[in-house]
């Protein structure tokens, strides 16, 4: 049998080839390059699945250095490019290529059949996007990850601004680019800090920066690192971790850098699905997972992650409550769900976070593609109050969308129930042993459960139930197979996805049947996963020199039931309020609170004010100082030099007797000075 790892590079490279092909020949290719993209991502998916199969049946982790820019030779900095395919990366590769594959197919209906122009640009960007994300996922060091992280950002800029002739998209693209870039500055400084501290940015291997950091903190400290600013070792690790976290918060749209994501809805809907489910936004959280062993060393960093995550989960959910546009609701729900993942990571729930990332990718892609189908049917009208009654007119979309919604709301037995429960349970487990930050995060998470269920079903009822409220809704445009196929695949996965890790029923089915946990602990591969395994992460988390978390043993059934009940309460409320042939806009009763929520807590205005009210005057002042102060000094130095030059030039009179006199005077002066100094007289 051919070793699948011989072709593992191709997972990312084939989409890159597709990108180049489409870029060069797109207009002459069938479907303007869509088929090439589908073939490429299909290939990536196939290889990824083979890799997963291999790792699940006793394969080995693939870690290969491809080439070296700067060889450190044991001292100094080493820059290299390499691939790391461990269970986490393999899982992520599969998710990314699967979603991208389905999005490509969906685009056939959403873009090609609608007669959009600029398709070559669209499919080229889509392929490049997929390539960047896949390459980011299997990067074996932080610097390489950073490069592809940035490329992912660039591609999302290109795709969000796809309809650049309209007013909204270019500005949304710019906003997405700038806000994430703001976070990436911290990330870049973090990368440099990791280099300066450890001399390497490798994720894996015996001398990865994660292992080095662990060795430094261990009681019998064998590792070495440089610290700066006079900080202690753990404090410095916290600083570095938080710097990298800046990039994560930008990309994964965590408070307060979440503002770009809802605006990013201006892009084509399939792109939104890709961004939200598998690429751009997932990149941030994935980065934390990739270097989780490093974060596990710092209780402060973990606390910050948990608190930011929990708060974002709650905060974004409140805004989703009142939105009127389908995609807006979904956008805020994405922000909120990534908050859950961050909460889990901060709360020591590595497996839960990976699990939620996986299920969320599936059901969020499903919801966005479903929304895309509705938008096509509604001729690009996204306002839910103009819909209604679509249930009977587009049944495939309705049923799959419903499955996705049930998963999002966390209703048993859909995929989202299991993963969200895992997130909350693992956080609670660590929170109860005296971690107040985690407890606060957990409380936010629980509140968000109610609201998630509520806004999800408000969305479902307004869109699909009741009587059609407009003529378009009464006779929607039919959608083709290319849009239905991805919906059905994802709908099926949303129903059964929970099988991966039914943590709530651990006591009944037995720990050995928690597949994802076993997978991440490296129990399915031959050899040891070592410092990259979930087991090792838990070991570090619970070590006193690191985070020092303790586990309170409790049955998962109770918290699971609590989450389910809360979800059902939210669902029930939504059904009660909006289950009418002509639902009334109840949210208007909230009055000023609604206005506040509709305006997203005026955060956008606040950020604009930060830019124009604080940064711009500061910049003007700096400019003024530069113009008058610095330039003044520089110009002044120039004029003084010129003046002096003129004087010195005049010494040369052209009269030779003057020269002779000056020469003699100079000599006499020298004689006098040195005669005096040397005591000749």
């Amino acid at each position: 049998m051919v070793d699948v790892f011989n072709v593992v590079e191709a997972i990312a490279l084939v989409p890159l080839v597709s990108f180049l092909l489409v870029l060069a020949l797109g207009n002459r290719m069938p479907k303007k390059g869509a088929l090439s993209g589908i073939a490429a991502t299909g290939f990536s998916l196939a290889i990824s699945l083979l890799v997963v199969l291999d790792l699940a049946t006793g394969g080995e982790v693939y870690h290969e250095e491809l080439f070296t820019f700067v060889a450190g030779d044991g001292a100094g900095v080493e820059l290299s490019f390499g691939l790391l395919v461990d269970p986490l990366a393999a899982l992520m590769l599969t998710i990314v290529s699967l979603i991208s594959f389905l999005v490509h197919i969906f685009s056939l209906g959403y873009m090609n059949d609608e007669g959009e122009i600029g398709l070559r640009r669209y499919y080229a960007s889509l392929s490049l996007f997929t390539f960047s994300m896949l390459a980011f996922v299997y990067s074996d060091n932080l610097l390489m990850a950073f490069m592809f992280f940035e490329l992912v950002g660039l591609c999302s800029f290109l795709l969000i601004g796809f309809w650049f002739r309209e007013a909204g998209p270019p500005s949304a693209a710019k906003k997405a680019f700038l806000v994430t870039r703001f976070g990436d500055y911290f990330f870049l400084v973090g990368v440099v800090a990791v280099f300066a501290t450890f001399g390497t940015t490798a994720f894996a291997g015996d001398h990865s920066f994660i292992v080095e950091a662990t060795h430094v903190l261990e009681p019998d400290a064998t590792g070495e690192m440089n610290t700066f600013l006079g900080l202690g070792e753990q404090a410095w690790i916290t600083v570095v971790g938080l710097l990298v976290l800046g990039g994560v918060m930008g990309k994964s749209a965590q408070f307060p850098l979440h503002t770009w994501l809802p605006d990013a809805m201006e892009g084509p809907t399939p792109v939104s699905a890709l961004i939200h489910a598998a690429t751009m936004v997932a990149a941030g959280v994935y980065l934390v997972m990739r270097m989780y062993g490093f974060y596990a060393l710092s209780p402060t960093a973990l606390g910050v992650i948990a608190l930011v995550g929990g708060f974002t989960a709650f905060f974004a959910a409140t805004m989703a409550l009142v939105k009127q546009e389908l995609k807006q609701v979904l956008a805020y729900s994405t922000v909120s769900q990534y908050g859950y993942m961050m909460l889990a990571l901060g709360g020591g729930g590595y497996v839960g976070a990976v699990f939620h990332l996986t299920t969320h990718a599936i059901f969020k892609a499903l919801l966005f593609l479903g929304a895309g189908a509705v938008i096509i049917a509604m001729h690009h009208n996204e306002n839910m109050w103009d819909m209604g009654g679509l249930k009977s007119r587009m049944p495939v979309t309705y049923w799959t969308f419903l499955f996705g919604s049930l998963a999002l709301a966390g209703i048993f037995p859909f995929a989202g129930f299991w993963s969200k429960d895992e997130v909350l349970f693992e956080t609670l487990q660590h929170a109860l042993s005296g971690e107040p930050l985690l407890l606060v995060g957990y409380a936010f998470g629980l509140l968000a459960v109610v609201m998630t269920a509520f806004y999800t079903f408000r969305m479902v009822y307004l869109t699909f139930h009741g009587e059609p409220r407009t003529d378009t809704a009464a006779s929607p445009e039919p959608i083709g197979w290319s849009m239905k196929f991805p919906l059905v695949v994802l709908g099926a996965l949303s129903v059964v996805g929970g099988v991966l890790n039914m943590g709530v029923l651990k006591d009944f089915i037995g720990s050995e049947n928690l597949f994802l946990k076993k997978w991440l602990e490296g129990k399915t591969i031959s050899g040891e996963l070592g410092p990259l395994s979930a087991e090792e992460y838990h070991h570090i988390l619970e070590s006193d020199f690191a985070a020092g978390y303790e586990v309170t043993e409790l049955s998962p059934l109770g918290p699971g039931a609590l989450a389910l009940v809360l979800g059902l309460v939210g669902l029930g409320a939504a059904v009660a309020l909006y289950r009418a042939p002509e639902p009334t806009p109840h949210m208007t009763k909230l009055g000023r609170i609604r206005t506040l929520l509709m305006n997203n807590y005026y955060l956008d205005e606040f950020q604009v004010w930060l830019a124009t009210g604080v940064t711009a005057p500061l910049a003007r002042a700096a400019n003024k100082f530069d113009q008058s102060g610095i330039d003044g000094v520089v110009n002044g130095a120039g004029s003084v030099s010129m003046f002096t030059g003129e004087r010195f030039r005049r010494i040369q009179t052209g009269i030779v007797t003057n020269y002779a006199a000056l020469l003699s005077l100079g000599l006499v002066l020298l004689l006098l000075v040195f005669g005096f100094l040397g005591g000749w007289f």
């Binding site: 030099s641 040369q652 030779v656 100079g666 040195f674 005669g675 100094l677 040397g678 000749w680």
Partner: protein, 499 residues
């Protein structure tokens, strides 16, 4: 490692002899063809002679003649001449410049009525310069200096129809005469105090105490050498002479003659009047520090406002004397003397090529007759991109940018002054380099950025001048990667001189 053992000791004077006999051969050739100048013949003899001198110098230098490993310096004529690493290093510099300048003269002198005279005077002056490096007594030193100076005066004034040339030559001669008098007087005072003129004997006599008379003599000798290297305030002749002289002669004097001044200055002050011995009477390190800083500053600032390119280069050349003076001004004993002195020597080596190249470009411009002001160079690169590229290289290297060897040699001088704990020198070096960058780029900008005037027309691309430019540019660039080799030779040579 060498078969030099089979050659008699006098053969060590080979470089000087080669140049001297070439000059005589030129007289003979001129006698054979008194009426019709034989351009090819005269230039051929001169270039061959220069190459022979260069080959001998490099051969001896590489073979280790007169170096520590082959039995130390070779003393000749009862110790009045000496051949060691330093004299050979400077012989290499002088002969290299001779080759470049004679190559360029082939085209420059195309219509000149007295070509053989110019070639032979150049070679005679070069003989003197090489001898300066080999002198080991004040008598030979003085004679060698005069041998290099007297032909130089005539060379500067060799354009007899040109007012500037005559005027420059006359001024050069008058100031030179005054300086020679001062030098001779200084030497006589040294003789009075020590009873000897041979360098070794003078040094020995110093142990008997250093009095005021000797101090007076030392300062006057310093002034005499100051004229030769064109350091402020003994530099007044330089801008006028360099500007008035024919282009190749300016290149020759500003590069080779300056090198000759420095070699005797290094030898006399480092070797004959050791700092530790005479410090109490004449603190010459301090004197050189003051002169170095004043020279750099006055020259570079004066260059800032020059309108004529050649005069600007003349001031830049004075400024470089200031940089090289760091080699003696930083001999405070804090840093390794060999390193400090070697840095100055290697800067002279690099400078010989980049400065000669720059002046030869001026010679080329004079040959084309395009005027002397910076504006006259506007858009020249559209007509002569290769020559302008070479000029750009020389100027940037003179400024100390890492495009030619000038970067490293300035860097070494900077390191030397920092190691010697003379921060002021380091600051002056850096600040003046910045100032120099400004006026060098004015020329570069004129050549590459400005639009050419309508009547700018280049008819010819003279082969001799172009070859010389190309060679100078090649060596300037090669001295960037090859700097390690050059500095190795310089440091080895300096080690033998530094006590």
């Amino acid at each position: 490692m060498t078969d030099f053992g089979t050659l008699p000791d006098w053969a060590a004077l080979g470089p000087a002899l080669a140049l001297g006999f070439t000059a005589l051969a030129l007289f003979v050739a001129d006698m054979v063809y008194p009426k019709r100048p034989q351009r090819e013949l005269f230039a051929g003899i001169s270039v061959t002679g220069g190459l022979a001198g260069l080959a001998l110098s490099v051969w001896y230098l590489v073979a280790g003649t007169g170096q520590a490993e082959s039995g130390g310096a070779i003393q000749l004529f009862e110790g009045t001449l000496v051949v060691d690493g330093m004299s050979l290093f400077f012989a290499t510099i002088v002969t290299s410049v001779v080759v470049l300048v004679t190559l360029a003269s082939y085209d420059y002198l195309v219509d000149h009525p007295h070509q053989a005279e110019i070639y032979s005077l150049t070679l005679l002056a070069a003989t003197g310069m090489v001898m300066v490096g080999m002198s080991n007594s004040f008598v030979t030193a003085f004679i060698a200096i005069e041998l290099s100076s007297l032909p130089s005066y005539a060379l500067v004034a060799s354009l007899k129809e040109n007012r500037g040339s005559i005027e420059g030559g006359l001024k050069y001669f008058l100031i030179g005469a005054l300086s020679s008098a001062i030098l001779a007087y200084g030497i006589s005072l040294v003789y009075v105090s020590t009873g000897s003129l041979q360098f070794g004997a003078v040094t020995e006599a110093l142990s008997g105490g250093v009095g005021g008379i000797l101090g007076l003599g030392i300062v006057m000798i310093l002034a005499g050498f100051g004229f030769k290297i064109a350091a402020v305030p003994f530099h007044f002749w330089a801008p006028e002479a360099y500007e008035g002289a024919p282009g190749p002669v300016s290149a020759f004097i500003s590069s080779a003659s300056k090198a000759a001044g420095f070699v005797i200055l290094f030898r006399v002050f480092v070797d004959v009047f050791p700092y530790e011995v005479v410090e109490g009477t004449v603190d010459w390190v301090m004197a050189f520090q003051a002169i170095a800083i004043v020279t750099m500053t006055v020259a570079n600032f004066a260059a800032l406002r020059q309108e004529k390119v050649k005069r600007m280069l003349a001031y830049s050349s004075v400024g470089h004397a200031g940089y090289v003076l760091i080699a003696v001004a930083a001999l405070t004993g804090e840093a390794s003397g060999a390193f400090v002195l070697g840095s100055g020597m290697v800067h002279l080596m690099v400078y010989a090529f980049m400065n000669t190249g720059a002046f030869l470009f001026i010679a080329l411009a004079e040959h084309w007759g395009i005027g002397r002001r910076i504006e006259d160079f506007n858009g020249l690169a559209t007509q002569a991109p290769f020559a302008c590229g070479a000029m750009t290289l020389f100027l940037l290297s003179l400024a100390g940018l890492p495009i030619g060897g000038g970067f490293f040699s300035k860097l070494y001088l900077l390191i030397a002054s920092v190691r010697a704990d003379v921060a002021l020198l380091a600051v002056a070096l850096v600040l003046n380099s910045v100032v120099s960058l400004f006026y060098y780029t004015r020329v570069i900008k004129a050549m590459w950025v400005e639009d050419p005037s309508d009547d700018l027309e280049i008819e010819s691309q003279p082969v001799g001048l172009y070859t010389a430019l190309a060679l100078a540019a090649l060596v300037t660039v090669l001295l960037l990667p090859g700097f390690g080799i050059a500095v190795e030779f310089a440091n080895t040579a300096a080690k033998l001189v530094v006590p």
